[in-house]
Symmetry: C2
Subunit: 367 residues, 2 copies
C-alpha cells in the first residue's frame, strides 16, 4: 500500500472512526484502524463487533493495499505532523513508513487477515430525517434507558415508525421517555431497538448544520449515514414493554413550571441526599407554590418556588435524579406537570403539543 | 453562634480554606471547616495536620460561638443559595440552621473540642516578595521534586535566602531546578524546605495583580500571608543534597534553541515511547541542526529542527519527560543548552542572565 493525502483530513477521519474502537478487546487487530485503498480513495474503519464506523477520504493512491495500525499511536502521530501532506508506505512485514515534512515514522502494523467483515445494511426504505432532529430525539430519550443487564431490550431506545411518525422511546421501570416527530417516510411500518451506547456515539457525528441523516435498519443491524460517515450498529433483540398501557390519561392537578428554576431547586435539595438515587424530595403543590423538603442523615432542608397550578393540592415524593433528568431533557422555558395522586406517576410534557412526554414514578414515604 | 454575612464572600472563603482539607483523614472533625466568631468577624479554617488555611471575613455577629461543618456539604449549600445574605444559627446539639431567602437548611455539625490548634508562626523577619514572582519560583522548580518517600527532604523545594537573594531549588537525582530572584530582605540568612504539596496549594492563591506575599518560617512551620489568607505549612526536615558540587562549569557545545518547537518535537517522539519514563530520545546536535530519533517496540521515528550552535557536535540521549519539563518551565522564546559529553548532564539556562538553571542527566544507550 502506498498513498499520499492531506494530513488534517486523515487525522479527522482517524479520530472519528476510532470512536468505535474499544480498548477492552482481546482481539489485537480490533485495537487498530483498518486502512484500505479503494476506487474512491482511502477507506478507514474502526470496529468493536457491536459498533463499526467507516469513511472514505480523498487520497492519491500509488499502490493498492491494506493494513491495520494501532489507533492511539496513529492518531497521535497525525496530530503532531507539521506538514499538510503525509505519505504512507507499507512493506511485506507490515511495517508502515509514514513521512511528512522532516518527520519519518516506521510503525509496526498488523495484517488485515483477521479483521472481521462489517455487516453492511442496504436499506430498501431508508429513513431520512434532519440530523439535528435525530440528535434531539436521542438526547431527549437516551437518559432513561435501563442499565439492567437482565432486560437487554431496555438498554436501548426503541424507534417506531408508522404513517410518517417516528417515535423514540426509552424506559427503565422507574421512568419513561418518548419523543416523536413527523417525517417524510413512505416505507412500511417498522420498529427497531438501538443500544444506548451506539446512539451516544452517533450523536457525536451530528453537526449544527441542516444536513440529513439516513437510517437503514435490517433484522440485526442498522447502518447510519451521516456527514460522509457510515456507522453500523448491532440492534437489540427481545421484548420491549408495551408502553401504551402505562400512559395515564386522567389528572387531578396541572402545573406550569419554569424548568431552570425547578432544576436549581432540585439541585439544592440533592446536596443533603445520602445516596442520590434513593433519598426522595417531598414536593407539595399548594396555592400556586411548590414546597420542597428533604430529610436525611445529613440534616433537613426546605425551599419553595412559584408555579401556576389548576386542580387539587398534592404532596408527592420523587427520586431527585429521575425528575431532574426529565426536566433537563425538556425543551422550552416552561414545562407542564400533570399529577393525579401521590402513588401515581407524574407526566411531564411541553406546554403545547406532544413533541415529548416523560413519566416518572413517585417514591412513597414511610410516614 | 449566630451571624449574618454576604453569601458570596462566605462561599469563596469556604472554598479556599477547604483546599487544605484532605478527604483521606480518619479524624471526622478534619473533614469539616471550622467556623468561629472573632473580634474581626467570622474566621474559617481548613486543616489536614500538614497544611492549614484560615481567613477572616466580615460578618454581623449576633452571638459568639464556633462549629465544624462538613466542607463538601456546606460549600454546595452556599453555592446554591439565591439570596445575597445568609444567616447561621447553631443550637446546643450542634445543629446549624442556615437561612437565606426562601431556603432553610438544618445541618448536623460537629463540636470543636477535638479540632486541633493550628501552629502559628510569628516571623521576626518576614520575607516579603511579589506574589507573582513567588508563584513563578514555585512553578519553575516544583516539577523537579523527588517522589521518592525515602528521601523526605527532596520531596520539597528548598528556599535559601542570603544577602537579599532568594533561591528556590528542587532535585530528584535525575534533574535539578533552580530559580533565583533579588528581594528586599534585611534579615538573617535562612533556608527551609517546603513540601511540594503545600507549594501547589499556595500557588492557587496567587492572583494576577501586583500584590505581595509574606513568608514567616520558623523551625517546623511556615506561615504564608497572601490576599487575606493565612496558609500554614509543615516544613520538611532532613539532609538536602549540596547542589553546588553538581553544577558543571565547562562545556564543549552551546546551543540556542526555540523552546516551543523543541517541545513539539519531543512530544512527537514520545508517541512511540513504551514507557515515557524510560524510552530515551537520541539527540544529535550537528551543523546547526538537531536530529531526533526514537526506537521502541512500537517502531522508530526521526525528525529534526534548526538550532544555532557553537562548539563540537554531540550525540546524547534524554528521558523525554525530564527534558520537556525543564524546557516547559523556562521563560522566554529561546533557551540556551550547554553540553559537554554524552555522559554529562545538560544545563538549560536563559539566553541572558541566570534567573533559572536546569540540569538534566543524560540516558546512556546500550549500543
Amino acid at each position: 500500500m502506498k498513498f499520499t493525502c492531506n494530513t488534517e483530513a486523515l487525522y479527522e477521519a482517524c479520530i472519528n472512526v476510532s470512536r468505535a474502537i474499544s480498548n477492552k478487546t482481546n482481539i489485537p487487530v480490533l485495537e487498530g484502524v483498518l486502512f484500505k485503498t479503494t476506487e474512491q480513495g482511502l477507506s478507514l474503519t474502526g470496529y468493536d463487533l457491536d459498533l463499526g464506523i467507516f469513511t472514505t477520504i480523498e487520497a492519491m493512491i500509488i499502490e493498492d493495499g491494506e493494513i491495520v495500525l494501532e489507533a492511539k499511536i496513529i492518531s497521535e502521530i497525525l496530530r503532531c505532523l507539521e506538514d499538510d501532506k503525509v505519505s504512507f508506505e507499507t512493506d511485506s512485514r507490515n511495517v508502515c513508513r509514514i513521512t511528512s515534512g522532516v518527520s519519518i515514522y516506521n510503525i509496526n502494523g498488523m495484517g488485515t487477515e483477521e479483521y472481521p467483515e462489517l455487516p453492511y445494511t442496504y436499506g430498501e426504505n431508508d429513513i431520512i430525517l434532519n440530523q439535528k432532529v435525530f440528535g434531539d430525539m436521542i438526547r431527549q430519550t437516551v437518559f432513561a434507558v435501563s442499565l439492567d443487564d437482565a432486560r437487554v431490550a431496555h438498554r436501548g431506545v426503541k424507534f417506531e415508525i408508522s404513517h410518517g411518525d417516528i417515535k423514540a422511546i426509552a424506559l427503565d421501570g422507574y421512568r419513561f421517555a418518548m419523543r416523536h416527530e413527523m417525517i417524510d417516510y413512505k416505507g412500511e411500518d417498522i420498529s427497531f431497538i438501538v443500544p444506548a451506547k451506539s446512539l451516544n456515539e452517533i450523536t457525536k457525528f451530528v453537526t449544527d448544520d441542516d444536513g440529513m441523516i439516513s437510517l437503514s435498519p435490517d433484522e440485526k443491524y442498522m447502518r447510519v449515514g451521516i456527514n460522509g460517515y457510515n456507522i453500523v450498529s448491532r440492534l437489540l433483540d427481545g421484548d420491549f414493554m408495551d408502553y401504551k398501557r402505562i400512559i395515564p390519561t386522567d389528572f387531578e392537578t396541572e402545573v406550569h413550571i419554569k424548568s431552570s428554576l425547578l432544576l436549581d431547586k432540585l439541585q439544592s435539595m440533592a446536596i443533603l441526599a445520602d445516596d442520590r438515587i434513593k433519598s426522595p424530595v417531598r414536593c407539595t403543590f399548594k396555592d400556586d407554590e411548590l414546597f420542597f423538603n428533604i430529610n436525611s442523615k445529613n440534616g433537613e432542608a426546605d425551599t419553595k418556588m412559584d408555579v401556576e397550578m389548576t386542580g387539587a393540592e398534592i404532596e408527592i415524593g420523587f427520586n431527585i435524579r429521575y425528575l431532574s433528568d426529565a426536566v433537563r431533557a425538556s425543551d422550552g422555558d416552561k414545562i407542564k406537570m400533570c399529577l393525579s395522586s401521590p402513588i401515581k406517576p407524574v407526566v411531564i410534557k411541553p406546554l403545547e403539543g406532544d413533541s415529548y412526554f416523560y413519566l416518572v414514578l413517585p417514591v412513597r414515604f414511610r410516614n
